[in-house]
């Protein structure tokens, strides 16, 4: 299957934050909601932008990690943090030019959007988005 891509169209965002809730509940543990990997920002009057990881190729987070804990899956193109390997030096949280590396101060771990890999493998934020703001499309096959 071709890799998924999240498409964000802020013009449709109504600031309902359903995406944040969906994300937090999906990635929580033992029924507790976790911090959302998706953040909706208010940029003007009634103007909202959900900011999520773009799963960049040659990502800054990957490059900045001194232990090689962050990598991009060659097939799914998802940039993933291996929590076992991570030493929490926080370099990636600063390095991401889009501010999409989050740190959970309670659980003491770095997290980011993984397109719900392992959680139904389909982005929940998009599933719960009441408008067309967040949608999913399949990329062209990797050559």
């Amino acid at each position: 299957m071709n890799p998924l891509r999240l498409v964000v169209q802020p013009q449709h965002c109504i600031g309902c934050r359903a995406c944040e809730l969906a994300c937090a509940f999906t990635h929580g543990a033992e029924g507790q909601p976790g911090a959302s990997r998706c953040r909706t920002l208010t940029v003007g009057k009634d103007e909202y932008v959900p900011v999520l990881c773009l799963q960049c190729d040659h990502a800054a987070c990957v490059q900045s990690c001194p232990t090689g804990a962050i990598s991009q899956d060659p097939v799914t193109k998802i940039v993933h943090v291996d929590q076992e390997v991570c030493v929490r030096c926080m370099a990636c949280t600063v390095a991401c030019p889009f501010g999409n590396m989050h740190f959970d101060p309670n659980g003491q771990f770095v997290h980011k959007c993984d397109l719900c890999a392992g959680h139904g493998d389909y982005p929940r934020c998009a599933m719960f988005c009441p408008t067309r703001c967040l949608s999913v499309e399949r990329m062209e096959p990797v050559s």
Binding site: V49, C86, P97
Partner: protein
């Protein structure tokens, strides 16, 4: 060179047939299969070391004619036909003694107390150390410092005098204050403090990098940023803003783009202007 064996094969762990592949260690295989083997000195970010001896398992093979040996799972290469017991009597004897010894060394460590209790040791049967601390000398801190940072700390001395420390016991000149050592320490022996723009660890104070926009402290030190630029070959601008400000910038820009898009324009006028000028 001829191929010495197939790249995937089967071995038996606690009577269960499990698949493994060349290049894996026994511990990788047990972990993948949810078989619990305790460890204290293991961390996937660094090379296996084999110092705590807790992950010892009993290994044999049909060809060994009944001979069994205790091996550290973290270092023993997975191989075709291995028969492994992770909880045999001799395995327990080693683990119980190791934990008893560690409890004599670090009687106040909650982590060790808990693990030791699992092997029936609630109080050490040995002579407890005078003035104990929480360091079990697993060497994770020094190893992670070497792989992820600057090898600023080291094990010094040898034998029973061995300690983890800094050159001449003073503030380590090469330290970048990244806290990786503190985060990997299994017993919480390595401590640090953060006040405002200052972080202190190993008796050294570090100034935190500040966000170029909002001025708030970033979770990395100036030395760390400089180190990352050098070692990871990145431009300093990558380490100049906080995640909040980065997100704000992205959101504002995307918001603007959305605004133009609603107006039926494909690109921001300013950007288009630039392109034309070029």
């Amino acid at each position: 060179m001829e191929q010495t064996g197939p790249s995937t094969f089967y071995m038996t762990i606690n009577g269960r047939r499990v698949q493994a592949s060349a290049g894996e260690y026994v511990l990788d295989v047990t972990r993948r299969n949810g078989i619990h083997v305790p460890t204290l000195c293991h961390h996937p970010a660094v090379e296996p070391f084999g110092s705590c001896r807790l992950c010892m398992v009993e290994v044999t093979k049909e060809a060994w004619k009944g001979w069994k040996g205790l091996m550290t799972a973290c270092l023993y290469p997975a191989a075709d036909g291995l028969v492994i017991e992770t909880d045999s009597e001799s395995v327990h004897r080693v683990r119980r003694n190791v934990l008893d010894l560690l409890l004599a060394r670090c009687p106040d460590s909650g982590v060790i107390q808990k693990l030791a209790a699992e092997y029936g040791v609630t109080r050490t049967t040995f002579t407890p150390r005078e003035n104990p601390d929480l360091c079990i000398l697993c060497g994770l801190c020094t190893r992670v410092c070497e792989t992820a940072a600057t090898a600023a700390i080291t094990t010094a001395m040898r034998g029973h005098e061995r300690v983890v420390g800094t050159p001449w016991g003073g503030p380590p000149p090469d330290c970048i204050g990244c806290l990786a050592c503190a985060h990997v320490c299994p017993t919480g022996h390595i401590t640090f403090e953060e006040h405002g723009l200052t972080r202190s660890i190993w008796g050294r104070e570090f100034e935190l990098e500040r966000c170029a926009d909002c001025g708030k402290p970033l979770p990395i030190t100036r030395d760390q940023a400089a180190f990352l630029c050098r070692r990871q070959e990145m431009d300093p601008s990558y380490f100049s803003r906080c995640a909040d400000c980065q997100r704000k910038m992205v959101a504002e820009r995307m918001g603007r783009m959305a605004r133009w898009q609603t107006l039926g324009l494909a690109q921001e006028p300013a950007e288009r202007g630039k392109e034309v000028a070029r």
